[in-house]
C-alpha cells in the first residue's frame, strides 16, 4: 500500500528531475515548439514542492489534487492544464483513502490519462505527451519500472511522427524527426514514480 508520504516523494522526485532536465526540455521545445517547456514545468513543480511543503496533505488523493491545482495555477501554456488535469483527476479517483494499492493507483492514473486525452483532444500517434502516458499506463500492470521504460520508449517513438496536436502540428512535415518535449517530460514523471517505488520497495 502507498501512503501520502509516497506521493509526496513522487512529486519531490518529479520536481528534482524536472529541475535537472529543464534545459533539455526547453531545447526539445525549440525546433518544433516555442522553447518554454522546461521553464514551464520548472516553474510548476517548484511551486508544487513549495505547496506540498507548506501544508502537507494527509492522503494520496489530496497530494495529487493539490499538485494538479498548483500546476494549473502556475504553469500556463498547454502543459499546465494538461499535467494539472492528469494529477488532479488521478487524485480525485484515489478518493480520501489514507493508503492506496498499486492497482488502485493504476486505475486512477488510467482515468487521469483519459482526462488528458479528453481535454486536449489528442490520441496516441499525434506526437504529444499522450504517446508516453498511454504507453506508460498500459505497462503499469507489469511494474512501475516497466511503465517508466514503456513511457520512455513511447517518447522516443514520437521522433518519426508527424504532429497533429499542439504547436508542433503547425510545422506539418517539418515536425518529423524531433522528439516531442511533452512526451519526454511525461516519461520523466513516470520514471520518478518508478524510482520512488523502487526505493520504497527496497526498504
Amino acid at each position: 500500500m502507498r501512503d501520502a508520504e509516497f506521493f509526496r516523494r513522487w512529486m519531490t522526485a518529479a520536481a528534482a528531475v524536472v529541475e535537472r532536465e529543464a534545459d533539455r526540455l526547453t531545447e526539445l521545445d525549440s525546433p518544433i515548439g516555442d522553447a518554454d517547456h522546461g521553464s514551464n514545468l520548472l516553474r510548476g513543480f517548484t511551486a508544487v514542492r513549495a505547496a506540498l511543503g507548506a501544508e502537507p496533505p494527509g492522503t494520496p488523493g489530496a497530494v495529487l489534487v493539490l499538485a494538479g491545482r498548483t500546476l494549473i495555477s502556475t504553469v500556463g501554456g498547454a502543459s499546465g492544464p494538461l499535467y494539472g488535469t492528469l494529477l488532479r483527476r488521478t487524485g480525485k479517483e484515489l478518493g480520501e483513502a489514507a493508503e492506496v494499492s498499486d492497482e488502485e493507483l493504476r486505475k486512477a492514473l488510467y482515468a487521469g490519462v483519459g482526462a488528458v486525452a479528453q481535454l486536449g483532444g489528442a490520441a496516441p500517434g499525434d506526437k504529444t505527451m499522450l504517446d508516453a502516458l498511454v504507453a506508460g499506463v498500459a505497462a503499469l500492470s507489469t511494474s512501475y519500472r516497466a511503465s517508466a521504460d514503456a513511457a520512455e520508449n513511447g517518447a522516443r517513438a514520437t521522433v518519426p511522427m508527424l504532429a497533429r496536436k499542439g504547436r508542433a502540428s503547425y510545422l506539418g512535415e517539418r515536425s518529423i524527426g524531433h522528439q516531442d518535449p511533452g512526451a519526454t517530460s511525461a516519461a520523466l514523471l513516470l520514471g520518478a514514480l518508478a524510482d520512488v517505488a523502487d526505493t520504497a520497495d527496497a526498504a
Partner: protein, 334 residues
C-alpha cells in the same frame, strides 16, 4: 545573450512595473499579472478581456484602454496565462453586463481560458469566448491544432472594444468579434529567429540568405524555408496566400483593413518599404484598402520579419474601426 533585462525570471514582472510607471490610467497588478483600465467598470459596459504569452508586445496590455480591451493577462514569455489570472481579470472588469474573452487559437490559450470561463460561470459571471484563428500558413483541419491567432487579434480587439464602448450587449460584441475574425486572414515571414530570455539562444537556426515562410508569433519555424527574396516577392507570397483564403470565406467583397506588422526587430524603414509592395500587390489585384496600419503591433520578441493581415470590412466594421481609441499603443480620435 543581448538582453536589456534584470533576469530571465523577472522579465514579465519588470515589464509590468514599467507599464505601471508609464501609464497612470492603467491599474497594473504586478504580482497577479493583470492589467486593467482604471475606469473598466465605470460605464456599465461589457468587459473585454484578452491575454496570452508575453513577448508579443504591445499586444495585449498595450491595447487596454478606452475603446479597446478592459483588461489583459500576460503570461510568461510565449506561455498562456493561467486560469487564475484570467478569472481575476474578468472579475475586475465585470459590471454586470458580462465579459467577452478574446482567445488566440493555441492549445495553451484555449485550455487556460476555457478553465477560467468554467470558474467564472461557477461564480455566476456570464462569459462568452471568441477564438481568433487567422493564420493561413496552418491548415485548419483535424490534423493540426487549427489556424493560429495572430494579427487579426488587433482587429478583433479594436472593433469589439469599440462596440463595447458604445454599450452594445455581450452577444452583440461577441458576434462582431466573430465576424471580424471570420473576415480576417494573416501570413507571416521570418528573416531571423528570436531569442527567449529563458533559453538565451535563437529558437531555430536560420542561415544568412534564407527565410522562413508561414511562421507564427512564437519563434517557431515556418512551413517552408526558402532562399532570401526581395521585399516585392515576399509581399506577393504573403498577400497571395492571404487573398487566396480570404476569397473563400469572407462574407463580402468590400474594401480591406490592412495591417502590415513588424515581428519586432525589423526597422520601420524596411516595414514601410515592404508596405509599398503590399499596397502595390493589392492594387494589382483590385483590392481596395480602406485603412492601413504599419508598425510593430503583434510581435515575436526580437524576430526580424513581418506579417500581413487583411480584414474585409463593411460599413459597420469601418465605423467601429474609426471609433476613438485611447491605449498605450493604439490611439486616435481622443
Amino acid at each position: 545573450m543581448r538582453m536589456l533585462i534584470n533576469s530571465p525570471e523577472t522579465v514579465v514582472a519588470d515589464a509590468l512595473r514599467g507599464m505601471a510607471a508609464a501609464h497612470p490610467d492603467l491599474d497594473v497588478d504586478v504580482e497577479r499579472r493583470v492589467v486593467v483600465r482604471r475606469d473598466a467598470r465605470a460605464g456599465g459596459r461589457v468587459g473585454l478581456v484578452s491575454g496570452g504569452g508575453s513577448g508579443h508586445e504591445p499586444l495585449h496590455a498595450g491595447f487596454v484602454g478606452h475603446g479597446m480591451l478592459s483588461a489583459a493577462c500576460p503570461g510568461e514569455v510565449f506561455t498562456s496565462p493561467v486560469p487564475d489570472q484570467v478569472l481575476r481579470a474578468a472579475a475586475a472588469v465585470d459590471s454586470g453586463q458580462g465579459v467577452l474573452f478574446v482567445v488566440k487559437n493555441y492549445t495553451g490559450d484555449v485550455l487556460n481560458f476555457e478553465m477560467a470561463a468554467e470558474l467564472a460561470e461557477e461564480d455566476g459571471l456570464p462569459v462568452e469566448s471568441v477564438l481568433v484563428n487567422d493564420d493561413v500558413a496552418v491548415t485548419d483541419s483535424l490534423y493540426t491544432a487549427g489556424r493560429r491567432g495572430t494579427g487579426a487579434t488587433l482587429f478583433v480587439e479594436k472593433i469589439a472594444g469599440a462596440a463595447a464602448e458604445e454599450g452594445a450587449p455581450l452577444d452583440r460584441v461577441a458576434e462582431l468579434a466573430r465576424r471580424v475574425n471570420a473576415a480576417s486572414r494573416s501570413f507571416g515571414v521570418a528573416l531571423s529567429a528570436c531569442t527567449t530570455p529563458a533559453k538565451g539562444s535563437p529558437t531555430f537556426d536560420l542561415p544568412d540568405g534564407e527565410l522562413e515562410l508561414g511562421v507564427g508569433i512564437h519563434g517557431e519555424p515556418g512551413r517552408e524555408r526558402r532562399a532570401m527574396m526581395p521585399a516585392r516577392e515576399i509581399a506577393e507570397v504573403a498577400v497571395g496566400a492571404v487573398l487566396a483564403e480570404l476569397g473563400e470565406v469572407a462574407p463580402a467583397d468590400g474594401p480591406v483593413l490592412a495591417l502590415v506588422n513588424g515581428m519586432g526587430a525589423t526597422p520601420l524603414l524596411e516595414l514601410y518599404g515592404f508596405h509599398a509592395e503590399v499596397a502595390r500587390v493589392l492594387a494589382e489585384r483590385g483590392v481596395p484598402v480602406a485603412r492601413t496600419l504599419v508598425g510593430n503591433y503583434v510581435t515575436s520578441l526580437d524576430m526580424a520579419g513581418c506579417s500581413v493581415t487583411l480584414c474585409r470590412a463593411d460599413e459597420e466594421l469601418l465605423r467601429l474601426w474609426d471609433a476613438p481609441v485611447r491605449t498605450a499603443a493604439l490611439r486616435w480620435g481622443c
